[in-house]
Amino acid sequence: MSEIVTIQGLQKNFGKLQALRDVNFTVNAGEVVGFIGPNGSGKSTTIRILLGIIKRDAGQAKIFGKDVWKDSLEIHKRISYVPGDVTLWGSLTGGEIIDLFLKLHGGGDKKKRDYLIKRFELDPKKKAKGYSKGNRQKVGLIAALSADSDLYIFDEPTSGLDPLMEAIFQEEVEKLKNAGKSILLSSHILSEVERLADKVVIIRQGEIVETGTLDELRHLTRSTVTLATEGDVTEIAAIDGVFDFQQKDNEATFSVDNQYLNDILARASKLGVKKFESVPPTLEDLFMRHYEG
């Protein structure tokens, strides 16, 4: 698998503030990487460095194997970017701005542009001044999605979109994914990340604290299990790795570290299992763990 984005030991200071201390991750070809973390943890800063908008203080950052600062031009020919707060020139219409972005990018697919304008229900004749937050966001999205790129960088792209539009965005990203494009998606909407991402990177206070596929990450955390047995379920509580044990008659609900699941099943089968339900941790659970530190 070839690496599209490679970041190693990335650091950035704003005056005294260490915005990025040590950022390492990769985005491979054809991969959708979810980039999540609390407010102010350094997601946008990392993305701005990738785009050559700001200069890193230390570390390596490469896209398509090229340095993001020195060879930004070469890189930019093959990427698209949507910021979380698309700001537009009030005196231009949405349609004009999309055309401008496409042209500056180096031409895009006109048919796809028109198709996306229809899909996102954008009025391209309206001056940008009159657009709502969500509509401004659509302008950025349409421009980025109709450009033909190899890497798409989205920084909270759906902020302000209604659920219907968000679903459309997700479908469009899935199409890109199926077409083998690489995507770096920073978002606070975890269901979005859960649905789209092959790999999740969690950043906290300028450091990457977790990287892996959703499955791998899930493995690191606890599932919620509901278990009903014929014998007395109480003894399960004593097993290592069981937490928050709550019992009602012979039915118990508890959370369990995934690596102990086997022990629990072994013990439960001796008691005679009547019901076993295991709910894997949501990204939200995972995330909370890291957010709360």
Partner: protein, 535 residues
């Protein structure tokens, strides 16, 4: 007060508290500038100074710049008369401009930024904010007026009478309030805050230029000009309070108009209609140059129109010059003695002033790139194959072209009207006017270079270029009146350039300043290429 203005006083005190530093700076700065030059003027009055100054200021170029004096003869021209003559119009203008910026900043700008939306969600009247802003301007200008009067009196000069001092202060104060009222009206009409500021300043500039013409041709006409109601009070000479009363009535009318307009419009909207736009971009927009031209178009066109009008207003004065000379023997002798015509002398002086103003346009355009950056407009552009160099040089190129066109239209305005109003008798041709104008091109490039330097290395300092421009402008402006030491006046870039046709063209200085400017542009680029952008 009624529902609409409910709790305006809360907002009033809140913003006084928030702005107090700015207000102190405003009152002290403008107050001391307005009143503090009495000792310097006393220096000038020594010996034959007053009489000489009286004659100098009879020159139409001077009247066009500072206004007329009611003094009939040198003996009536006291220290007080000279002080109000040379200072009042200018101070009144400054007071107006600051008030405009304050009012728009506290009304329309807050609305554009979405602050008003938040404020209105509290128990605060819909128009309370505008009233509070206007009351603030009223309050600040009254304090300013009293301060100016007090400082004037404090020098204890004989000719600076108590009544004159009070009138001088009041004239400056009323000018400020007038500016605030004009701004409040335009804040309702224009679709955004930048438009409101631009239109208000534009109107004030227009009034200034119109009065330049009427002051020379017929002062009575200047009394129909709102700006005339401030400086035609003639403190220390006629002490005429009537214009201030007219101004007050005008202010009240403007405020009623503003509040009516505001009451009838939606928040965030203006009265100038929004048209439906295109669904596809025109080909001409689809490049960095196209985009920059489009977003600067309004500013460029407005300034160019202002330059033509300014040139035409000054140009119309040429027609009156000979009549003026024939009635003033002393001036006649002065010009014959100096071996140049009154028209040539006027052209040299006025060109320096006009091209100084033309320099504003390139600075505005260069600073616009940083304004775009701070509004986060560049992120998505930088992420395309557009380079920083493209952004920078396209912007600089546009600024320089606009500056050159600015010179062209000012020259055409001035020369065209001059030739039209004088006819064959004018010894100067269009080519002479062009030479006089383009003689100052290096100064325009120099200001562009300074702005570019700031853009590349310390974009927040871009506004300081305006400060330096104002400073040089004031030096040139007052350099004619005050006897400044050589080194001091040379701190203004224009002073290095000998004004044509009064003096000979100096190729060495022309080339040197041009080369320095180009170097500044390049240094600016080196900074722009490597600094962090906001996006």
């Amino acid at each position: 007060m009624n529902e609409k203005f409910a709790r305006w006083s809360t907002l009033f005190f809140l913003s006084l508290k928030r702005d107090w530093k700015k207000i102190v700076f405003w009152v002290l700065g403008l107050g001391l500038f307005s009143a503090g030059f009495v000792p310097a003027f006393e220096e000038i009055t020594k010996g034959q100074g007053l009489a000489a100054m009286f004659e100098t200021l009879q020159n139409p170029a001077m009247i066009a710049m500072v206004g007329p004096t009611p003094a009939q003869s040198a003996s009536e021209y006291t220290l007080g008369a000279m002080y109000s003559h040379e200072m009042l119009l200018f101070c009144a203008l400054c007071a107006m401009i600051i008030s405009v910026l304050h009012v728009v900043g506290h009304t329309r700008k807050e609305e554009d930024l979405g602050l008003t939306e938040l404020v209105r969600s509290f128990q605060i009247g819909r128009q309370a904010n505008s009233l509070a802003a206007m009351m603030q301007v009223l309050f600040i200008n009254i304090v300013l007026a009293l301060f100016v009067s007090g400082v004037l009196m404090s020098f204890g000069a004989d000719a600076i009478t108590v009544e004159g001092s009070l009138l001088f202060g009041a004239s400056v104060g009323i000018a400020g309030i007038l500016g605030g009222a004009i701004a409040l009206v335009l804040a309702q009409i224009m679709p955004a805050s930048s438009g409101a500021t631009g239109a208000s300043l534009g109107i004030i500039g227009l009034l200034y230029i119109i009065r330049a013409g009427t002051d020379v041709s017929n002062v009575d006409l200047s009394m129909i000009n709102p700006l005339g109601w401030t400086y035609l009070t003639y403190p220390f000479v006629e002490n005429n309070w009537v214009p201030l009363i007219i101004a007050l009535i005008f202010i009240i009318i403007m405020m009623i108009l503003a509040f009516t307009l505001e009451g009838a419009r939606d928040m965030g909207a203006g009265y100038l209609p929004e048209r439906e736009g295109r669904s596809h971009a025109k080909r001409s927009l689809l490049s960095v140059r196209g985009l920059f031209t489009k977003i600067n178009k309004g500013v460029i066109i407005s300034w160019l129109i202002a330059f033509v009008i300014m040139g035409a207003a000054y140009g119309s004065i040429y027609g009156d010059m000979q009549t003026f000379l024939s009635s003033n023997e002393m001036m006649q002798q002065m010009f014959t003695h100096a071996g140049i015509s009154i028209e040539e002398s006027f052209t040299g002086t006025i060109m320096m002033v006009m091209i100084g103003l033309v320099s504003i346009l390139p600075i505005v355009i260069v600073n616009k790139l940083f304004a775009e950056e701070s509004r986060m407009h560049l992120g998505q552009i930088i992420a395309t194959k557009v380079t920083r160099g493209q952004l920078y040089w396209t912007n600089i190129g546009l600024a320089i072209v606009a500056g050159v066109v600015g010179i062209v239209v000012s020259v055409i305005g001035l020369g065209g009207t001059a030739i039209a109003s004088v006819g064959d008798k004018l010894t100067m041709g269009m080519a002479d006017f062009f030479a006089a104008g383009f003689n100052f091109l290096p100064s325009v490039l120099f200001f562009t270079g300074l702005a570019a330097l700031a853009l590349g290395w310390a974009p927040k300092l871009g506004k300081l270029v305006y400060v330096y421009l104002t400073y040089s402008f004031l030096l040139n402006y007052f350099g004619n009146i005050l006897d400044l030491p050589e080194w001091f006046s040379k701190t203004a870039i224009q002073s290095w350039i000998p004004p044509m046709p009064i003096e000979e063209f100096d190729a060495f200085i022309f080339i040197t300043i041009t080369v320095i400017s180009i170097v500044l542009l390049i240094i600016g680029y080196l900074g722009y290429k490597r600094r962090d952008l906001l996006a």
